[in-house]
């Protein structure tokens, strides 16, 4: 697993308080990992900080799963 994926996973595990095994490629933050809409805003904020990138609101809306987040950040960072 790439370094970016590891760092994203760490943020998700810490923020949502879920077990690491549950954070899989297609795991949806809201449907599978118990996030509410405010959690997803906070996750995006945490990603921006960790990777020093800006995630615009329209892009943030497309980040629904762990895989989406890793893909977006890999392309942006």
């Amino acid at each position: 697993m790439s370094d970016i994926a590891d760092r994203v996973k760490k943020i998700v595990v810490e923020h949502l308080g879920v077990e690491e095994e549950k954070v899989t490629e297609n795991a949806s933050f809201i449907d599978d990992l118990g996030a509410d809409s405010l959690d997803t805003v906070e996750l995006v904020m945490a990603f921006e900080e960790e990777f020093g990138i800006e995630i615009p609101d329209d892009a943030a809306e497309t980040i629904q799963t762990f895989g989406d987040a890793v893909k977006f950040i890999s392309e942006a960072a």
Binding site: L38, V41, E42, M45
Partner: protein
């Protein structure tokens, strides 16, 4: 009680009567304050009066870019914005039939839209801190309406509904959003009324006197405090009984 030591507060409209009173009250409770307003002269004077823990940040709230920049400037100056008091407001009174689009738009822009922008701007920091207090100053006329103030009353009612919506969104993160609704308070805004108008309004106030800036400041201090942590989405009316809502 109501110790704000270590907290940082951004107050808009701090050059006015009520805003100045709010700034003095929060500062006296130990908060560091950022005083915002369009007129820097009175802000500098207030900062000098307060001594330490006071910063002056000029901002014209009808300038969207300046409004967007203000929360960051305040955080840079104070290290954080733990408390936001949206107090700035303008009036452009006119009977609705004679009210221009410009009078309408300006009042909505400053009183409602800039208040929203500032709330949005401080929420990120408050979410991370898991603590925040937003106090929006509305008005008795936002609940009752008032002749000649269709624009102002609409903007103030808008502030109440917006505050409730934000309160619901961020309550789980330790952030409260409340409103304070002043009644008839002696300030530059009410000085514009003539004696006859003042006498007529006072006739509707059971307390028989105008309120003072300190009356509003005390309500804001309470809602900014740790002790008010379970109060959110509320509107605290401070009006001498003029409207019992």
């Amino acid at each position: 009680m109501f110790d704000l030591t270590g907290k940082s507060a951004l107050i808009t409209g701090a050059s006015g009567g009520i805003g100045g009173g709010i700034a003095r009250a929060l500062h006296a409770a130990g908060a560091t304050v950022a005083l915002s307003g369009t007129r820097t002269g009175p802000l500098e004077e207030l900062a000098a009066e307060l001594g330490g823990r006071a910063h002056v940040l000029a901002c014209n709230l009808s300038d969207a870019a300046a409004v967007e920049a203000l929360p960051k400037q305040a955080a840079d100056a104070m290290g954080a914005v733990d408390i936001l008091v949206n107090n700035a407001g303008i009036t452009r009174d006119q009977l609705a039939m004679r009210m221009s689009d410009e009078d309408w738009t300006q009042v909505i822009e400053v009183n409602l839209t800039s208040t929203f922008r500032l709330c949005r701007g401080v929420l990120r920091g408050m979410m991370k801190a898991r603590w925040g207090r937003i106090v929006n100053i509305t008005s008795i006329v936002g609940a009752t309406g008032n002749t000649g103030q269709a624009n102002y009353a609409a903007s103030k009612a808008g502030v109440v509904a917006m505050s409730k919506s934000l309160a619901a969104e961020v309550a789980s993160r330790g952030i409260t959003v409340n409103a304070v609704a002043p009644g008839f308070i002696g300030t530059a805004m009410t000085d514009k009324l003539n004696d006859e108008q003042k006498a007529r309004i006072l006739g509707q106030v059971p307390m028989g006197r105008m309120g003072e800036a300190q009356d509003i400041a005390a309500a804001v201090l309470y809602l900014s405090s740790l002790e008010a942590g379970y109060v959110t989405g509320a509107t605290l009316h401070v009006n001498g009984g003029m409207a019992m809502l």
